[in-house]
């Protein structure tokens, strides 16, 4: 059994028994990366990993938008070429403080987390380990593909509209977007500050709980981080869901939902019923507005956050004799197509004369979407939906149709708008062998309930044990 195939909790046991060393795990991972990364492209800039310093515990793979001191952090964008952060993100400090370490190379992503397929990477697109002609999802497609391809033991991604959960579902692994404020965003290069959250992508639910224990908690450096004690999430890993009330929002089971996905989710719900859960239909009536609200709020915030990339302090600069020209050329050449599209859209919805009609209206509809969740969570412990309306799509299939790409986030976006946690867990495969994910949505700070349900489901199914042949 190669070490890279194991989960973090299995490896920790081996380390404690003296059966494995961290250095063996790192060597095993880099051998595996050397073998399969040319096909999968989960990692970028691998050559820079050589000469890596001391490792301890279990290495965590990190998305390219989370600052790692002295280690290139470029958001897979030309405009951040060569950027070596002078400080660590808080999650990185927490990983070190827990006795673990990070793998000294970063995972592939859509530029600035703008995308659902990892095709918008300035480097090569990442591939789905289950079928290399398909996308791994995005924007944390590199982290999800790395975990699925056994190029990572466990990984961190970031989720603004589904960027952890959707790639986790496409790659057949576990992805959690925590409650907004549960994990510090300090050092996460901001996309949309009111929506972004860092979270774990792992081979199973136990690893997800372990990594959440490490990264959660209050941070004085992030004024939006919650000053509320963190429970021990591993205590939620019980095999019991008797009497738990699960709502099935009917608005997520509509036209455009793939038949195989629908049938697979139905089977998973039958499984949960047989394990003692009460499953009932519910309604979130404002769901149809989630995607339009998101593409106003997220692009507005992005246009503001990305104003800092102007060629002055770091990254790429296009030389010019005139300052305004330098800004415009730097940003015109440094940003990819999707980044430019979103920045311009965001600038437009915030601009004079359009603010009330777009931005302010979107914020009001956001309230309605949040109210929908507050209402159903009075009677239910969690909600279950497909993570994505379709399995992974082919590379190139949606790349020229941004609107079609945006609609692939339809099941995940609402959780970010409402700030609630969501977890994607593998629940089956298509006939052609692509993974399908089930999304469990919880109350604010309801991560323990998500772990309990997901762990129980996992203990009674075999999906998480299947591995792709690459």
């Amino acid at each position: 059994m190669e070490l890279y195939t194991l989960t973090a909790h299995e490896l920790l046991k081996k380390i404690n028994k003296g059966e494995a060393k961290t250095s063996d795990i790192v060597t095993s991972l880099f051998d595996r990366i050397k073998e399969v990364n040319p096909k999968v492209n989960s990692y970028v800039r691998i050559n820079e990993a050589e000469g890596a310093s001391a490792y301890s515990g279990i290495p965590v793979s990190i998305k390219d938008n989370i600052c790692t001191k002295g280690l290139n952090t470029e958001c897979c964008s030309k405009i951040l070429q060569g950027f070596k952060p002078p400080y660590e993100a808080t999650v990185i400090n927490k990983i070190h403080a827990s006795g673990n370490c990070i793998l000294k190379t970063k995972t592939n992503m859509d530029e600035f987390a703008f995308g659902s397929s990892t095709e918008n990477s300035y480097f090569k697109p990442a591939h789905n380990p289950w079928n290399l002609e398909y996308v791994p999802g995005g924007s944390s497609g590199g982290s999800a593909a790395a975990v699925a391809a056994d190029e990572a033991i466990w990984a961190l991604g970031s989720d603004t509209g589904g960027s952890i959960r959707q790639p986790a579902s496409f790659c057949g692994v576990v992805g959690l977007k925590p409650t907004y404020g549960r994990v510090s965003r300090y050092g996460l290069i901001a996309f949309a500050s009111s929506l972004d959250q860092i979270g774990p992508i792992t081979k199973d639910v136990e690893d997800s709980a372990l990594l959440m224990n490490i990264i959660s908690g209050h941070d004085p450096l992030d004024s939006t981080s919650l000053n509320i004690p963190v429970p021990d999430y591993t205590r939620s890993l019980v095999n019991d869901i008797k009497g738990i009330k699960i709502g099935i929002p009917k608005e997520y089971f509509i036209e455009g939902l793939d038949n195989e996905v629908k049938n697979t989710i139905d089977e998973a719900l039958n499984k949960l019923r047989s394990l003692g859960a009460e499953v009932k239909p519910v309604s979130l009536p404002h769901t149809e507005y989630a995607v339009p609200v998101y593409y106003i709020v997220a692009t507005a915030e992005a246009s503001s956050n990305l104003a800092r990339f102007d060629g002055v302090q770091y990254g790429f600069r296009a030389e010019s004799k005139n300052l305004i020209e330098m800004y415009k050329k730097t940003r015109g050449e440094g940003f990819g197509e999707e980044a430019k599209r979103r920045i311009i859209l965001g600038t437009f919805v915030l601009s004079h004369g359009y603010y009330d009609a777009y931005y302010l209206r979107a914020l009001k509809v956001r309230t309605l979407i949040k109210n929908d969740f507050d209402k159903v969570f009075k009677d239910f412990d969690c909600l279950i939906t497909p993570t994505s309306p379709t399995p992974a799509f082919k590379i190139g299939e949606k790349v020229n149709d941004p609107l079609k790409m945006y609609l692939s986030d339809i099941c995940t976006i609402s959780a970010n708008l409402a700030g609630i946690p969501g977890l994607s867990i593998p629940c089956g495969f298509t006939k052609s062998g692509l993974p399908i994910g089930m999304q469990i949505l919880g109350k604010p700070l309801g991560e323990e309930m998500l772990f309990q349900i997901a762990h129980t489901y996992e203990q009674n199914t075999e999906w998480h044990k299947l591995k792709p042949k690459i």
């Binding site: 002078p86 609200v293 940003f335 311009i344 914020l363 009001k364 956001r366 949040k370 700030g419």
Partner: protein, 95 residues
């Protein structure tokens, strides 16, 4: 809401992004389609609804004003595309 090429060009200028002519054409069409889709929000009844700009009931997060060391100047300037002494260098602003 229709968005024409001039508006896209002007907005790109506000966002300090230079666009080539073919890029401007494609982007104008795509933004038109996206805004057309976003117009769905006009159907929603938002009468008397308060806007949510932030999901947490947390506000006025204050801390003690304590002096702490900041990043060394050399560290901060290490990533600069161009520097002069302890400054980031940029093209001349005042003619």
């Amino acid at each position: 809401m229709a968005i024409d090429k001039n508006t896209v060009e002007y907005t790109a200028h506000l966002a300090r992004i230079e666009l080539g002519q073919p890029e401007l054409e494609t982007l104008s069409k795509q933004l038109h389609d996206i805004l057309d889709f976003i117009d769905k929000l006009k159907e929603a009844d938002v009468e008397g609804v308060m806007p949510t700009s932030h999901i947490l009931p947390v506000n006025n997060v204050l801390r003690e004003d304590i002096v702490k060391p900041s990043l060394p100047v050399e560290e901060v300037l290490k990533n600069a595309p161009n520097r002069q002494g302890n400054f980031f260098a940029v093209p001349k602003i005042i003619e």
